[in-house]
């Protein structure tokens, strides 16, 4: 741990009052930032200064700050969740930046993720996709014993890999087509790997894909950028699974 102090940083950030108005970039200087500070703490410090100066602080989404809730969503220096791999924005630390650097921060950009204010976007589209079929249709109670459905170790692990998705939207933000395929495929593939989920697998794949298309996400062209920028390393192999499940369902129709 060798803490350093960064000076003369320039934070170039997208400011937009609300969904109706046009936004623009503003640049704010900031000094005296420890390299042990997290990126969001740096924004906290900047906001504190802005409030003291009587200006509007920068609005951005964040909550758990330990990389699991999926709330934080910043496009930093041209990359979703910034210049570090396998992490969310809240786990990004200032040691990844240098003195005098200009740091460009933009909101997720997609038609289906409209900007609410500044860096905050509306990801309700993801909710709608999951509501259309991202579940196993069981009610509370009346289910068999947990060990009554044996599930192989590998299947459980593969399902868990897909289920690690935190729904942050980095895949959509990164994809040059704003496609939500990685997100949808993670859910479809998580449930398709488990016997509980297979019962309604066909229905799920069809309705989730239809909802995704309806909501204006782009198409997957298999660039693979989503899996690289995914903070949880969800693999695009899941997209192949989704494609397979979808084709199977469509052929059966």
């Amino acid at each position: 741990m060798s803490e350093k102090i960064l000076n003369n940083l320039k934070i170039k950030v997208w400011r937009q009052k609300n969904a109706q108005t046009k936004g623009q970039f503003e640049t704010y200087p900031i000094d005296n930032i420890s390299t042990d500070t997290s990126f969001l703490e740096m924004l906290d410090i900047l906001n504190y200064q802005l409030v003291e100066e009587g200006k509007d602080p920068i609005v951005f989404d964040h909550d758990c700050r330990e990389g699991i809730c999926g709330t934080c969503s910043l496009f930093i220096n041209g990359r979703a969740h910034g210049p570090d791999d396998d992490i969310t924005t809240c786990q990004l630390h200032m040691r990844k930046f240098k003195n005098d650097e200009t740091i460009t921060i933009e909101p997720w950009r997609a038609k289906s993720f409209p900007v609410i204010k500044d860096l905050m976007v509306d990801r309700t589209a993801f909710e709608k996709i999951l509501q259309s079929g991202g579940f196993v249709s069981v009610n509370t109670g009346g289910v068999p014993d947990g060990n009554a459905i044996p599930i192989g170790y590998d299947d459980a692990e593969a399902a868990m890999d897909a289920a690690s998705c935190i729904g942050c939207g980095a895949c959509v933000a990164t994809c040059k087509n704003s496609s939500a395929m990685l997100f949808v495929s993670a859910k479809v593939s998580h449930l398709a790997r488990l016997p509980q989920g297979q019962v309604e697998a066909a229905r799920r794949a069809k309705s989730m894909v239809a909802k995704m298309d309806e909501l204006g996400f782009g198409n997957c062209s298999n660039t693979g950028a989503c899996e690289v920028e995914c903070p949880k390393g969800i693999s695009i192999t899941n997209i192949a699974t989704l494609n397979r499940e979808y084709l199977k369902a469509k052929i059966a129709d």
Binding site: R79, E106, R109, N177, N219, S221, T223, A240
Partner: protein, 211 residues
């Protein structure tokens, strides 16, 4: 994209196989016979319009998808840094495809047009059968102009790059990929793309070097 892609890739294999005969027999007999077989074979007669439709569908679909995808992000990023996240080819399939289309138009004008529309290609007798002297048509073009040779090499390279992504992508889209198969298909795809680019480049190169 995937299904038409598969179809077009299988066409490429046939096309390349026939073309390579150009360099194995300078008299042109083999190539002429093969070309004649291709035009006289009833199966090919059926496949030909299908092939045209395949190309057109591939292009139309590419156009629709590209427009859709552009609409899906009405406001772009000021700064994008995707070098580490995806390959250039995968991000630029439409650009590569468009370049290939330009090549294709010239390619058709050079050969297919002359053969089928202008009917300006001489007839010769080979082994008692009358056929177009396609060998002369092709070889004279390559012998005549270095520009053409370079143009064809460029076309082959664009096609190869297009395939570095296209081959694997086609399998991914139909769901034929998994943790193990993905790597295999990616490797096979790269090899396939390289062979296609090399194969189609060798022919003009051969004519540059030899004549």
């Amino acid at each position: 994209m995937s299904l038409t892609g598969f179809f077009l890739m299988s066409f490429l294999i046939v096309h390349l196989t026939v073309n390579l005969l150009l360099i194995f027999d300078d008299t042109g007999v083999l190539f002429n016979q093969a070309a004649h077989f291709m035009v006289s074979n009833p199966i090919i007669k059926v496949v030909e319009p299908v092939l045209a439709i395949g190309f057109i569908l591939h292009m139309i679909y590419a156009g629709i998808l590209t427009i859709n995808n552009m609409v899906a992000r009405p406001v772009g990023y000021k700064k994008v840094n995707q070098k580490q996240a995806s390959t250039w080819a995968s991000r630029n399939m439409f650009v590569l495809g468009s370049l290939i289309v330009i090549f294709l138009i010239l390619h058709i004008m050079n050969f297919y047009w002359k053969l089928k529309v202008e009917q300006s290609v001489a007839l010769i007798m080979v082994d008692g059968a009358e056929m177009h002297d396609t060998y002369t048509l092709v070889s004279s073009l390559f012998k005549a102009s270095l520009i053409y040779n370079l143009f064809y090499i460029a076309g082959a390279i664009f096609l190869g790059i297009h395939l570095t992504h296209g081959f694997w992508s086609a399998f991914q889209t139909i769901g034929w990929s998994g943790n193990i198969w993905r790597k295999r298909i990616e490797v096979v795809g790269k090899v396939f793309a390289f062979l296609i680019a090399l194969g189609f480049s060798i022919i003009p190169l051969y004519f540059i070097i030899k004549f």
